[in-house]
């Protein structure tokens, strides 16, 4: 693995940070009362991106020894990494500003927030393009990968925000049902995207077929099936579907509405679901880097 666990963690954190920013912006508009979700999303977003960037710097050994070289990162516009550097810079500036305003309890500038939303989406997409444009690794070199990364980024972003929100305020998570519905849709899409990607790419190319075989039945099969599919996707899909089902039943009766409004359910289900999604998001990126079989050139 040329790019190992550190880069997997960076890709995961960048997606998570972008997703958390979007979740907070959505919550700010849709649920002005659910203040915790908005504040948590806004605060964790720049922190997580910052940790991701630190990991990146640690992995770039030559730059670590001579940090002024990182300025050159802005120079080659034919490189996806350079374009990503711009995206992340703008995203970080907007996210840091919004977080600062939140801490100072001041009103945020709407335009800065919209700029942040645009560059959050750009950051999430870029992590997919970064490895998607690599022709030398057929498993990555597919149009589905950037879409999969975006869906996964948004889903881990929701998970991270909801997890911290649940710990801060037990009631708030039961008031943001539409976020849970979006989350469920994203998780189901992710299952579909993973299998579409594996099915199509493995039938076009020998190296990609080897990569897919490593994941489905080879070296990484336990991590893939148990870690990604069961824990990262099936468990959260199951719990989230049940929660949405139960909540829609509650709203059918007056007594149920009162229970729902009081927010008296526990947060165990949320804690399990969101931690599982976060674990799955990291495992997905780790596996894609680990199973990267290069083109056979002989």
């Amino acid at each position: 693995m040329v790019w190992g666990t550190i880069i997997a963690a960076y890709l995961f954190l960048a997606g998570l940070s972008a997703g958390a920013f979007l979740t907070s912006s959505y919550a700010a508009r849709k649920y002005p009362d659910a203040k915790t979700v908005r504040v948590v999303g806004r605060l964790i977003s720049p922190i997580l991106m910052g940790i991701g960037l630190l990991l990146l710097i640690v992995d770039a050994e030559a730059g670590l020894k001579d940090p002024l070289r990182f300025i050159y990162l802005f120079t080659n516009f034919s490189s996806v990494m350079t374009i990503g550097t711009y995206f992340i810079s703008f995203f970080m500036m907007a996210a840091a500003y919004i977080a600062l305003m939140e801490l100072l309890k001041k009103d945020t500038n709407k335009i800065v927030e919209y700029v942040g939303v645009v560059f959050a989406v750009a950051t999430a997409i870029y992590t997919g393009f970064l490895i998607g444009v690599i022709g030398a690794v057929p498993l990555w070199n597919t149009a589905i990968l950037p879409i999969l990364f975006v869906v996964s980024a948004f889903s881990t972003g929701i998970a991270g925000t909801m997890l911290v929100s649940a710990i801060m305020d037990k009631k708030v998570i039961h008031h943001v049902m539409s976020i849970k519905k979006i989350h469920l849709t994203l998780l189901i899409s992710e299952v579909f995207l993973i299998f579409t990607m594996f099915l199509i790419t493995s039938s076009t190319n020998e190296s990609a077929a080897q990569s897919v075989a490593m994941l489905l039945s080879g070296e990484y099969s336990i991590l893939f099936w148990l870690g990604l599919i069961v824990i990262g996707l099936m468990v959260p899909i199951g719990i989230e579907a049940l929660e949405i089902w139960n909540s829609s039943k509650l709203h059918q009766s007056q007594a149920g509405l009162e229970v729902a409004a009081s927010g008296s359910h526990g947060i165990t289900a949320t804690l399990i679901t969101e931690s599982a999604v976060l674990a799955g998001g990291f495992i997905l990126r780790y596996l894609l880097l680990a199973a990267a079989v290069p083109v056979i050139f002989l």
Binding site: V2, L56, E61, Y72, S79, I131, V137
Partner: protein
């Protein structure tokens, strides 16, 4: 302006590793680090088999993916078509290593800089041959100007119908006789 390239005749290569050792000496590389990697390929069904030893190094692609992905412009192509790394600009992100079709790049863990075959640019500038070429005991390697139709390298490519390893992966400047 010359456009440098090489022919490697795998039928003449005996796998003695002299090219690799001289390359390591020329570039002052530690024992475990090398710019030339040896691959073996067996084709056919017993008893009709062919065993090839294929030395692989940077192919100095004309449209090199390492050059386009490098975010810092540390990797660049010279006017003579040699792909080089500017050790003062490389941050060691390893994007070029991931992008290289031939796995021809290696990271120096003392400096963190990614390096690879440089066609011995400093020797070539003096009009000499790259170290791997001048040291090859069986003359399996020929180096020269691909744009000069009378150069030995151009003539050999035509005479022996030498081909890049994977022409579909880009325009390489190392041609193989296999």
């Amino acid at each position: 302006m010359a456009r440098y390239g090489m022919v490697i005749d795998t039928r003449k290569c005996v796998g003695c590793y002299a090219c690799r050792v001289s390359c390591q000496m020329q570039n002052e590389l530690p024992v475990e680090e090398t710019y030339i990697k040896f691959h073996e390929k067996e084709t056919g069904v017993f008893p009709n088999v062919k065993n090839e030893i294929i030395p692989v190094q940077c192919q100095h692609c004309e449209d090199a993916p390492c050059v386009s992905v490098c975010p810092t412009k540390a990797t660049y192509t010279t006017k003579e078509g040699i792909v080089l790394v500017d050790a003062d600009k490389c941050i060691g992100c390893k994007y070029c290593m991931v992008a290289c079709h031939y796995g021809a790049r290696t990271q120096d863990h003392n400096t963190g800089v990614v390096e690879k075959c440089r066609f011995c640019a400093e020797l070539v500038a003096e009009g000499k041959q790259p170290a791997c070429v001048s040291t090859c005991i069986s003359n399996a390697r020929i180096f020269g100007d691909l744009d000069d139709p009378n150069s030995e390298v151009s003539k050999t490519i035509v005479k022996m119908n030498a081909q890049p390893l994977r022409p579909d992966l880009g325009k390489a400047k190392i041609y193989y006789v296999r």
